[in-house]
Amino acid sequence: MLKVENLNVYYGGIHALKGISFDVSKGKIITLIGANGAGKSTTLRTICSLVRAKEGKIIFKDKDITNISTDQIVKMGAVLIPEGRRIFPNLTVQENLDLGAFVREDKEEIIKDQEWVCKLFPRLKERLWQKGATLSGGEQQMLAVARGLMSRPKLLMLDEPSLGLAPLLVKEIFEIIQRIHQEGITILLIEQNAFAALKIADYAYVLETGRIVLQGTGEELLRNEEVRKAYLGE
Protein backbone atom coordinates (compact mmCIF):
# COMPACT_ATOMS: atom_id res chain seq x y z
CA MET A 1 0.00 0.00 0.00
CA LEU A 2 2.78 2.41 0.96
CA LYS A 3 6.35 2.10 -0.15
CA VAL A 4 9.09 4.47 0.95
CA GLU A 5 12.37 4.29 -0.94
CA ASN A 6 15.66 5.88 0.02
CA LEU A 7 14.04 8.90 1.64
CA ASN A 8 16.40 11.78 2.36
CA VAL A 9 15.08 14.82 4.16
CA TYR A 10 16.76 17.95 5.46
CA TYR A 11 14.90 19.71 8.20
CA GLY A 12 16.08 23.03 9.56
CA GLY A 13 19.58 22.44 8.21
CA ILE A 14 19.81 18.97 9.70
CA HIS A 15 20.01 15.80 7.64
CA ALA A 16 16.98 14.36 9.40
CA LEU A 17 16.34 11.26 7.30
CA LYS A 18 19.32 9.55 5.77
CA GLY A 19 17.98 7.26 3.12
CA ILE A 20 15.27 5.26 4.84
CA SER A 21 13.17 2.66 3.06
CA PHE A 22 10.24 0.68 4.34
CA ASP A 23 7.00 -0.96 3.31
CA VAL A 24 3.51 -0.84 4.70
CA SER A 25 1.41 -3.61 3.24
CA LYS A 26 -2.32 -3.51 3.08
CA GLY A 27 -4.27 -4.45 6.19
CA LYS A 28 -1.28 -4.50 8.51
CA ILE A 29 -0.22 -2.53 11.55
CA ILE A 30 3.29 -1.25 11.01
CA THR A 31 5.15 0.69 13.64
CA LEU A 32 8.21 2.92 13.67
CA ILE A 33 9.90 3.14 17.04
CA GLY A 34 12.88 5.12 18.13
CA ALA A 35 14.09 7.80 20.49
CA ASN A 36 13.18 11.47 20.38
CA GLY A 37 14.70 13.11 17.32
CA ALA A 38 15.28 9.84 15.48
CA GLY A 39 13.18 11.14 12.59
CA LYS A 40 9.88 9.38 13.20
CA SER A 41 7.66 12.45 12.96
CA THR A 42 9.66 13.78 10.03
CA THR A 43 8.99 10.52 8.20
CA LEU A 44 5.23 10.88 8.58
CA ARG A 45 5.28 14.58 7.78
CA THR A 46 7.24 13.85 4.61
CA ILE A 47 4.77 11.18 3.53
CA CYS A 48 2.02 13.81 3.88
CA SER A 49 4.06 16.38 1.97
CA LEU A 50 4.18 18.79 4.91
CA VAL A 51 7.95 18.41 4.58
CA ARG A 52 9.53 17.97 1.17
CA ALA A 53 11.96 15.15 0.44
CA LYS A 54 15.34 16.03 -0.99
CA GLU A 55 15.77 12.59 -2.44
CA GLY A 56 13.82 9.38 -2.60
CA LYS A 57 10.38 8.22 -3.52
CA ILE A 58 7.08 7.67 -1.77
CA ILE A 59 4.62 5.35 -3.49
CA PHE A 60 1.04 5.13 -2.24
CA LYS A 61 -1.48 2.84 -3.92
CA ASP A 62 0.94 2.40 -6.86
CA LYS A 63 1.19 6.13 -7.39
CA ASP A 64 4.23 8.32 -6.84
CA ILE A 65 3.08 10.88 -4.26
CA THR A 66 6.50 12.36 -3.47
CA ASN A 67 5.66 15.76 -4.97
CA ILE A 68 1.91 15.85 -4.60
CA SER A 69 0.24 18.43 -2.36
CA THR A 70 -1.02 17.47 1.08
CA ASP A 71 -4.69 17.88 0.23
CA GLN A 72 -4.35 15.53 -2.76
CA ILE A 73 -2.69 12.91 -0.57
CA VAL A 74 -5.53 13.18 1.93
CA LYS A 75 -8.00 12.74 -0.92
CA MET A 76 -6.19 9.56 -1.93
CA GLY A 77 -6.78 8.19 1.56
CA ALA A 78 -3.51 8.64 3.44
CA VAL A 79 -4.33 10.50 6.63
CA LEU A 80 -2.09 11.63 9.47
CA ILE A 81 -3.24 12.18 13.02
CA PRO A 82 -0.52 14.57 14.10
CA GLU A 83 1.44 14.57 17.30
CA GLY A 84 -0.05 16.60 20.13
CA ARG A 85 -3.64 16.03 18.93
CA ARG A 86 -3.81 19.40 17.16
CA ILE A 87 -7.57 19.64 17.32
CA PHE A 88 -9.03 23.05 16.47
CA PRO A 89 -9.73 24.65 19.85
CA ASN A 90 -11.85 27.44 18.36
CA LEU A 91 -14.22 25.02 16.65
CA THR A 92 -16.83 22.73 18.10
CA VAL A 93 -16.37 18.97 18.28
CA GLN A 94 -18.88 18.67 15.45
CA GLU A 95 -16.95 21.15 13.30
CA ASN A 96 -13.73 19.29 14.02
CA LEU A 97 -15.38 16.11 12.79
CA ASP A 98 -16.74 17.96 9.73
CA LEU A 99 -13.20 19.02 8.92
CA GLY A 100 -12.13 15.40 9.11
CA ALA A 101 -14.65 14.69 6.35
CA PHE A 102 -13.63 17.82 4.44
CA VAL A 103 -12.55 16.03 1.26
CA ARG A 104 -15.72 13.94 1.05
CA GLU A 105 -18.95 14.77 -0.72
CA ASP A 106 -21.03 11.67 0.12
CA LYS A 107 -23.24 13.27 2.78
CA GLU A 108 -25.18 10.17 3.75
CA GLU A 109 -22.06 8.09 4.21
CA ILE A 110 -20.51 10.87 6.28
CA ILE A 111 -23.50 10.72 8.65
CA LYS A 112 -23.07 6.96 8.94
CA ASP A 113 -19.38 7.35 9.67
CA GLN A 114 -20.13 9.92 12.32
CA GLU A 115 -22.48 7.45 13.98
CA TRP A 116 -19.69 4.90 13.84
CA VAL A 117 -17.06 7.17 15.44
CA CYS A 118 -19.57 8.25 18.07
CA LYS A 119 -19.97 4.59 18.93
CA LEU A 120 -16.20 4.20 19.17
CA PHE A 121 -15.96 7.31 21.33
CA PRO A 122 -19.23 7.73 23.22
CA ARG A 123 -17.77 10.63 25.19
CA LEU A 124 -17.56 12.75 22.04
CA LYS A 125 -21.21 12.25 21.29
CA GLU A 126 -22.17 14.07 24.47
CA ARG A 127 -19.89 16.96 23.58
CA LEU A 128 -20.62 17.59 19.91
CA TRP A 129 -21.52 21.25 20.47
CA GLN A 130 -18.70 22.05 22.86
CA LYS A 131 -15.62 23.93 21.72
CA GLY A 132 -12.56 21.76 21.21
CA ALA A 133 -10.66 23.79 23.78
CA THR A 134 -13.02 22.66 26.56
CA LEU A 135 -12.18 18.96 26.18
CA SER A 136 -9.76 17.15 28.48
CA GLY A 137 -6.46 15.88 27.08
CA GLY A 138 -7.81 12.37 26.68
CA GLU A 139 -10.98 13.57 24.99
CA GLN A 140 -8.91 15.72 22.64
CA GLN A 141 -6.90 12.65 21.62
CA MET A 142 -10.13 10.74 21.03
CA LEU A 143 -11.37 13.63 18.91
CA ALA A 144 -8.12 13.70 16.94
CA VAL A 145 -8.53 9.99 16.14
CA ALA A 146 -12.24 10.35 15.39
CA ARG A 147 -11.52 13.30 13.11
CA GLY A 148 -8.92 11.25 11.25
CA LEU A 149 -11.41 8.43 10.80
CA MET A 150 -14.04 10.78 9.37
CA SER A 151 -12.01 11.02 6.17
CA ARG A 152 -12.52 7.26 5.75
CA PRO A 153 -8.79 6.65 5.33
CA LYS A 154 -7.16 3.69 3.61
CA LEU A 155 -3.95 4.33 5.50
CA LEU A 156 -4.09 5.91 8.93
CA MET A 157 -0.85 7.31 10.31
CA LEU A 158 -0.74 8.04 14.02
CA ASP A 159 2.02 10.14 15.54
CA GLU A 160 2.45 9.39 19.26
CA PRO A 161 -1.22 8.86 20.06
CA SER A 162 -0.46 7.89 23.65
CA LEU A 163 1.71 10.90 24.44
CA GLY A 164 0.74 12.57 27.70
CA LEU A 165 -2.17 10.26 28.44
CA ALA A 166 -2.86 8.50 31.72
CA PRO A 167 -2.05 4.74 31.68
CA LEU A 168 -5.72 3.76 31.56
CA LEU A 169 -6.29 5.98 28.53
CA VAL A 170 -3.15 4.65 26.84
CA LYS A 171 -4.64 1.19 27.10
CA GLU A 172 -7.93 2.44 25.68
CA ILE A 173 -6.23 4.19 22.75
CA PHE A 174 -4.34 1.01 21.81
CA GLU A 175 -7.54 -1.01 21.98
CA ILE A 176 -9.17 1.49 19.68
CA ILE A 177 -6.28 1.33 17.22
CA GLN A 178 -6.81 -2.42 17.06
CA ARG A 179 -10.54 -2.00 16.53
CA ILE A 180 -9.90 0.47 13.71
CA HIS A 181 -7.49 -2.03 12.21
CA GLN A 182 -10.17 -4.73 12.33
CA GLU A 183 -12.34 -2.46 10.18
CA GLY A 184 -9.78 -2.96 7.43
CA ILE A 185 -7.76 0.23 7.81
CA THR A 186 -4.02 -0.07 7.38
CA ILE A 187 -2.11 1.52 10.25
CA LEU A 188 1.29 3.17 10.39
CA LEU A 189 2.02 3.93 14.03
CA ILE A 190 4.77 5.96 15.62
CA GLU A 191 5.31 5.47 19.31
CA GLN A 192 7.71 6.13 22.12
CA ASN A 193 5.76 3.58 24.07
CA ALA A 194 7.66 0.87 22.21
CA PHE A 195 6.30 -2.00 24.25
CA ALA A 196 2.66 -1.25 23.55
CA ALA A 197 3.36 -0.52 19.89
CA LEU A 198 5.36 -3.68 19.28
CA LYS A 199 2.69 -5.78 20.96
CA ILE A 200 0.07 -4.85 18.39
CA ALA A 201 2.38 -4.43 15.36
CA ASP A 202 2.63 -6.93 12.52
CA TYR A 203 5.97 -5.51 11.53
CA ALA A 204 8.22 -2.87 13.01
CA TYR A 205 11.17 -0.68 12.13
CA VAL A 206 13.61 0.88 14.57
CA LEU A 207 14.86 4.34 13.69
CA GLU A 208 18.05 5.84 15.03
CA THR A 209 19.24 9.32 14.00
CA GLY A 210 17.58 9.17 10.62
CA ARG A 211 18.42 5.58 9.72
CA ILE A 212 16.56 2.30 10.02
CA VAL A 213 18.83 0.17 12.15
CA LEU A 214 16.62 -2.81 12.82
CA GLN A 215 13.44 -4.38 11.57
CA GLY A 216 11.34 -7.42 12.16
CA THR A 217 7.95 -8.59 13.29
CA GLY A 218 6.62 -7.09 16.48
CA GLU A 219 7.30 -10.30 18.37
CA GLU A 220 10.86 -10.58 17.08
CA LEU A 221 11.70 -7.09 18.17
CA LEU A 222 10.09 -7.61 21.57
CA ARG A 223 12.51 -10.49 22.08
CA ASN A 224 15.49 -8.64 20.62
CA GLU A 225 18.21 -7.96 23.17
CA GLU A 226 19.15 -4.50 21.86
CA VAL A 227 15.57 -3.35 21.60
CA ARG A 228 14.86 -4.50 25.11
CA LYS A 229 17.83 -2.55 26.40
CA ALA A 230 17.34 0.62 24.41
CA TYR A 231 13.57 1.00 24.23
CA LEU A 232 11.93 -1.24 26.76
CA GLY A 233 14.07 -0.12 29.67
CA GLU A 234 15.46 -3.49 30.63
Binding site: T70, D71, V74, K75, R86, F88, N90, L91, F102, V103
Partner: protein
Protein backbone atom coordinates in the same frame (compact mmCIF):
# COMPACT_ATOMS: atom_id res chain seq x y z
CA UNK B 1 -27.07 70.23 21.43
CA UNK B 2 -30.66 69.76 20.45
CA UNK B 3 -32.18 66.34 20.06
CA UNK B 4 -32.62 66.90 16.36
CA UNK B 5 -28.98 67.62 15.77
CA UNK B 6 -28.07 64.66 17.92
CA UNK B 7 -30.30 62.38 15.84
CA UNK B 8 -28.82 63.81 12.69
CA UNK B 9 -25.33 63.01 13.94
CA UNK B 10 -26.48 59.62 15.08
CA UNK B 11 -27.68 58.78 11.59
CA UNK B 12 -24.32 59.87 10.19
CA UNK B 13 -22.47 57.91 12.85
CA UNK B 14 -24.41 54.70 12.31
CA UNK B 15 -23.96 54.94 8.61
CA UNK B 16 -20.23 55.65 8.80
CA UNK B 17 -19.86 52.92 11.41
CA UNK B 18 -21.42 50.32 9.13
CA UNK B 19 -19.10 51.43 6.38
CA UNK B 20 -15.99 51.03 8.54
CA UNK B 21 -17.23 47.63 9.63
CA UNK B 22 -17.19 46.52 5.99
CA UNK B 23 -13.65 47.75 5.48
CA UNK B 24 -12.36 46.50 8.84
CA UNK B 25 -13.38 42.94 7.96
CA UNK B 26 -10.78 42.81 5.20
CA UNK B 27 -8.00 43.58 7.68
CA UNK B 28 -9.21 41.13 10.25
CA UNK B 29 -9.79 38.25 7.83
CA UNK B 30 -6.39 38.53 6.21
CA UNK B 31 -4.78 38.83 9.62
CA UNK B 32 -6.77 35.81 10.74
CA UNK B 33 -5.37 33.52 8.08
CA UNK B 34 -1.91 34.99 7.43
CA UNK B 35 -1.08 37.01 10.59
CA UNK B 36 -0.40 39.86 8.19
CA UNK B 37 -1.67 43.42 8.17
CA UNK B 38 -2.59 44.03 4.57
CA UNK B 39 -1.55 47.67 4.28
CA UNK B 40 -2.70 47.67 0.67
CA UNK B 41 -6.30 47.17 1.81
CA UNK B 42 -7.04 50.91 1.90
CA UNK B 43 -5.67 51.18 -1.62
CA UNK B 44 -7.86 48.38 -2.89
CA UNK B 45 -10.66 50.51 -1.45
CA UNK B 46 -9.41 53.48 -3.49
CA UNK B 47 -8.97 51.42 -6.66
CA UNK B 48 -12.55 50.17 -6.37
CA UNK B 49 -13.88 53.73 -6.47
CA UNK B 50 -11.84 54.40 -9.61
CA UNK B 51 -13.07 51.17 -11.15
CA UNK B 52 -16.63 52.48 -10.82
CA UNK B 53 -15.57 55.84 -12.22
CA UNK B 54 -13.88 54.40 -15.30
CA UNK B 55 -16.47 51.73 -15.90
CA UNK B 56 -18.95 54.60 -16.26
CA UNK B 57 -16.83 57.15 -18.11
CA UNK B 58 -14.83 54.93 -20.47
CA UNK B 59 -17.12 51.96 -20.89
CA UNK B 60 -20.35 53.93 -20.38
CA UNK B 61 -21.81 51.24 -18.16
CA UNK B 62 -24.88 52.16 -16.13
CA UNK B 63 -24.13 52.97 -12.47
CA UNK B 64 -25.40 49.72 -10.99
CA UNK B 65 -23.48 47.53 -13.41
CA UNK B 66 -20.38 49.67 -12.94
CA UNK B 67 -20.55 49.03 -9.19
CA UNK B 68 -20.88 45.31 -9.74
CA UNK B 69 -17.93 45.29 -12.15
CA UNK B 70 -15.87 47.33 -9.68
CA UNK B 71 -16.58 44.87 -6.86
CA UNK B 72 -15.50 41.97 -9.04
CA UNK B 73 -12.37 43.80 -10.23
CA UNK B 74 -11.48 44.66 -6.64
CA UNK B 75 -11.77 40.98 -5.74
CA UNK B 76 -9.47 40.08 -8.62
CA UNK B 77 -7.06 42.81 -7.55
CA UNK B 78 -7.02 41.54 -3.96
CA UNK B 79 -6.33 38.01 -5.10
CA UNK B 80 -3.59 39.18 -7.45
CA UNK B 81 -1.91 41.18 -4.69
CA UNK B 82 -1.92 38.09 -2.51
CA UNK B 83 -0.40 35.95 -5.26
CA UNK B 84 2.27 38.46 -6.23
CA UNK B 85 3.20 40.14 -2.96
CA UNK B 86 2.37 37.73 -0.13
CA UNK B 87 2.33 34.15 -1.33
CA UNK B 88 6.04 33.99 -2.22
CA UNK B 89 6.80 35.20 1.31
CA UNK B 90 4.50 32.87 3.20
CA UNK B 91 7.36 31.05 4.87
CA UNK B 92 9.62 34.08 5.17
CA UNK B 93 9.95 36.07 8.41
CA UNK B 94 6.81 38.07 9.06
CA UNK B 95 8.60 41.41 8.65
CA UNK B 96 9.18 40.55 4.97
CA UNK B 97 5.52 40.25 4.08
CA UNK B 98 4.82 43.36 6.16
CA UNK B 99 7.33 45.30 4.03
CA UNK B 100 5.80 43.79 0.94
CA UNK B 101 2.37 45.02 2.08
CA UNK B 102 3.65 48.56 2.62
CA UNK B 103 5.39 48.48 -0.75
CA UNK B 104 2.22 47.26 -2.42
CA UNK B 105 0.32 50.13 -0.83
CA UNK B 106 2.80 52.69 -2.24
CA UNK B 107 2.76 51.00 -5.61
CA UNK B 108 -1.02 51.25 -5.90
CA UNK B 109 -1.03 54.88 -4.76
CA UNK B 110 1.74 55.81 -7.20
CA UNK B 111 0.03 53.92 -9.97
CA UNK B 112 -3.18 55.81 -9.27
CA UNK B 113 -1.41 59.18 -9.36
CA UNK B 114 0.38 58.37 -12.60
CA UNK B 115 -2.49 56.74 -14.41
CA UNK B 116 -5.61 58.36 -12.93
CA UNK B 117 -4.01 61.71 -12.07
CA UNK B 118 -3.72 63.41 -8.68
CA UNK B 119 -6.62 65.76 -9.09
CA UNK B 120 -9.87 64.65 -7.41
CA UNK B 121 -12.56 63.41 -9.73
CA UNK B 122 -16.22 63.72 -9.00
CA UNK B 123 -18.04 60.49 -8.37
CA UNK B 124 -21.46 60.02 -9.87
CA UNK B 125 -24.29 59.95 -7.35
CA UNK B 126 -27.72 58.72 -8.31
CA UNK B 127 -30.28 61.27 -7.30
CA UNK B 128 -31.58 59.40 -4.26
CA UNK B 129 -28.18 59.45 -2.53
CA UNK B 130 -27.64 63.14 -3.04
CA UNK B 131 -31.07 64.08 -1.75
CA UNK B 132 -31.63 65.11 1.85
CA UNK B 133 -34.75 63.86 3.52
CA UNK B 134 -36.44 65.81 6.27
CA UNK B 135 -38.01 63.64 8.96
CA UNK B 136 -39.72 65.96 11.40
CA UNK B 137 -36.88 68.38 11.91
CA UNK B 138 -34.09 65.87 11.38
CA UNK B 139 -32.29 66.14 8.07
CA UNK B 140 -30.99 62.82 6.80
CA UNK B 141 -29.11 62.39 3.52
CA UNK B 142 -30.29 59.49 1.36
CA UNK B 143 -26.98 57.72 1.65
CA UNK B 144 -27.61 57.31 5.39
CA UNK B 145 -30.60 55.10 4.70
CA UNK B 146 -28.81 52.96 2.18
CA UNK B 147 -25.45 52.49 3.87
CA UNK B 148 -26.66 50.57 6.96
CA UNK B 149 -29.00 48.38 4.90
CA UNK B 150 -26.38 47.50 2.28
CA UNK B 151 -23.75 46.95 4.99
CA UNK B 152 -25.98 44.70 7.06
CA UNK B 153 -26.94 42.64 4.02
CA UNK B 154 -23.28 42.11 3.11
CA UNK B 155 -22.30 41.39 6.72
CA UNK B 156 -25.04 38.76 6.91
CA UNK B 157 -23.82 37.17 3.68
CA UNK B 158 -20.31 37.19 5.08
CA UNK B 159 -21.41 35.60 8.36
CA UNK B 160 -23.23 32.93 6.41
CA UNK B 161 -20.13 32.14 4.37
CA UNK B 162 -17.81 32.08 7.36
CA UNK B 163 -20.02 30.20 9.82
CA UNK B 164 -22.23 28.03 7.62
CA UNK B 165 -20.24 26.91 4.58
CA UNK B 166 -17.41 24.47 4.07
CA UNK B 167 -15.11 27.18 2.75
CA UNK B 168 -15.84 29.24 5.85
CA UNK B 169 -15.00 26.26 8.02
CA UNK B 170 -11.73 25.90 6.11
CA UNK B 171 -10.96 29.57 6.73
CA UNK B 172 -11.58 29.22 10.44
CA UNK B 173 -9.40 26.10 10.55
CA UNK B 174 -6.55 27.78 8.68
CA UNK B 175 -6.67 30.73 11.06
CA UNK B 176 -5.67 28.40 13.90
CA UNK B 177 -3.28 25.90 12.36
CA UNK B 178 -1.92 25.75 8.78
CA UNK B 179 -0.42 22.28 8.97
CA UNK B 180 -3.38 20.57 10.56
CA UNK B 181 -5.75 22.35 8.18
CA UNK B 182 -3.74 20.90 5.30
CA UNK B 183 -3.93 17.46 6.90
CA UNK B 184 -7.72 17.78 6.72
CA UNK B 185 -7.36 18.06 2.95
CA UNK B 186 -7.92 21.81 2.84
CA UNK B 187 -6.34 23.51 -0.16
CA UNK B 188 -4.42 26.31 1.50
CA UNK B 189 -3.81 28.48 -1.57
CA UNK B 190 -7.39 28.38 -2.67
CA UNK B 191 -8.75 29.21 0.78
CA UNK B 192 -6.33 32.10 1.27
CA UNK B 193 -7.18 33.51 -2.18
CA UNK B 194 -10.84 33.27 -1.30
CA UNK B 195 -10.23 35.18 1.93
CA UNK B 196 -8.55 38.00 0.05
CA UNK B 197 -11.36 38.09 -2.49
CA UNK B 198 -14.04 38.41 0.17
CA UNK B 199 -12.13 41.10 2.07
CA UNK B 200 -11.47 43.07 -1.11
CA UNK B 201 -15.06 42.73 -2.27
CA UNK B 202 -16.30 44.17 1.02
CA UNK B 203 -13.74 46.98 0.75
CA UNK B 204 -15.15 47.77 -2.68
CA UNK B 205 -18.68 47.94 -1.30
CA UNK B 206 -17.34 50.22 1.44
CA UNK B 207 -15.59 52.39 -1.13
CA UNK B 208 -18.75 52.83 -3.18
CA UNK B 209 -20.72 53.81 -0.08
CA UNK B 210 -17.91 56.15 0.94
CA UNK B 211 -17.81 57.84 -2.47
CA UNK B 212 -21.58 58.28 -2.38
CA UNK B 213 -21.12 60.15 0.88
CA UNK B 214 -18.02 62.15 -0.11
CA UNK B 215 -18.29 62.19 -3.90
CA UNK B 216 -14.70 63.19 -4.64
CA UNK B 217 -12.31 60.38 -5.46
CA UNK B 218 -8.53 60.66 -5.58
CA UNK B 219 -5.47 58.41 -5.16
CA UNK B 220 -5.13 58.92 -1.41
CA UNK B 221 -8.81 58.58 -0.56
CA UNK B 222 -8.15 55.11 0.90
CA UNK B 223 -5.52 56.20 3.38
CA UNK B 224 -7.64 57.59 6.21
CA UNK B 225 -10.58 55.22 5.90
CA UNK B 226 -7.98 52.45 5.73
CA UNK B 227 -6.27 53.52 8.93
CA UNK B 228 -9.56 54.00 10.74
CA UNK B 229 -10.81 50.60 9.68
CA UNK B 230 -7.49 49.09 10.72
CA UNK B 231 -7.83 50.76 14.12
CA UNK B 232 -11.37 49.45 14.29
CA UNK B 233 -10.20 45.91 13.58
CA UNK B 234 -7.68 46.13 16.43
CA UNK B 235 -10.20 47.61 18.86
CA UNK B 236 -12.57 44.77 18.03
CA UNK B 237 -9.80 42.19 18.35
CA UNK B 238 -7.82 41.56 15.19
CA UNK B 239 -8.67 38.20 13.67
CA UNK B 240 -12.23 38.30 15.00
CA UNK B 241 -14.95 38.98 12.46
CA UNK B 242 -17.52 39.99 15.05
CA UNK B 243 -14.86 42.22 16.54
CA UNK B 244 -14.26 44.00 13.24
CA UNK B 245 -17.99 44.60 12.85
CA UNK B 246 -18.37 46.04 16.35
CA UNK B 247 -15.05 47.90 16.19
CA UNK B 248 -15.90 49.42 12.83
CA UNK B 249 -19.27 50.50 14.09
CA UNK B 250 -17.78 52.09 17.22
CA UNK B 251 -15.06 53.93 15.33
CA UNK B 252 -17.51 55.33 12.79
CA UNK B 253 -19.95 56.42 15.47
CA UNK B 254 -17.23 57.92 17.68
CA UNK B 255 -15.61 59.82 14.80
CA UNK B 256 -18.88 61.58 14.12
CA UNK B 257 -19.76 62.10 17.78
CA UNK B 258 -16.36 63.58 18.65
CA UNK B 259 -16.81 66.13 15.91
CA UNK B 260 -20.36 66.83 17.07
CA UNK B 261 -19.78 67.08 20.82
CA UNK B 262 -16.29 68.50 20.89
CA UNK B 263 -16.05 70.68 17.79
CA UNK B 264 -12.83 72.26 19.06
CA UNK B 265 -11.20 68.78 18.94
CA UNK B 266 -12.61 67.91 15.53
CA UNK B 267 -9.25 68.38 13.86
CA UNK B 268 -7.79 65.74 16.17
CA UNK B 269 -10.43 63.13 15.60
CA UNK B 270 -8.07 60.49 14.22
CA UNK B 271 -5.64 60.95 17.08
CA UNK B 272 -8.63 60.68 19.40
CA UNK B 273 -9.61 57.32 17.92
CA UNK B 274 -6.07 56.14 18.56
CA UNK B 275 -6.31 57.24 22.19
CA UNK B 276 -9.43 55.10 22.49
CA UNK B 277 -7.57 52.25 20.83
CA UNK B 278 -4.77 52.53 23.37
CA UNK B 279 -7.26 52.53 26.26
CA UNK B 280 -8.97 49.45 24.92
CA UNK B 281 -5.62 47.72 24.55
CA UNK B 282 -4.62 48.71 28.09
CA UNK B 283 -7.65 47.05 29.61
CA UNK B 284 -8.17 44.29 27.07
CA UNK B 285 -4.94 43.70 25.14
CA UNK B 286 -6.62 41.19 22.81
CA UNK B 287 -9.30 43.71 21.80
CA UNK B 288 -13.00 43.56 22.56
CA UNK B 289 -13.69 40.21 20.88
CA UNK B 290 -10.19 38.84 20.49
CA UNK B 291 -9.08 35.47 21.77
CA UNK B 292 -6.50 35.03 24.52
Amino acid sequence: MSLNIFLQNLSNGISLGCLFALVAIGYTMVYGVLRLINFAHGDIFMMAAFFVFYAMTIFSLPWGIACLVAIILAMVLGRTIERVAYKPLRNAPRISSLCSAIGMSFLLENFAIVVFGGRPKSFYRPEFFAKTFVLGEVRVPGVNFVTPIVSIVFLLILSYIVYRTKTGLAMRAISKDFDTAMLMGINLDRTISFTFMIGSGLAAVGAILWALRYPQIWPFMGVFPGWRAFTAAIIGGIGSIRGAMVGGFLVGLLTIMIVAFLPELAGYKDAFIFVILIFVLLFKPEGLFGEE
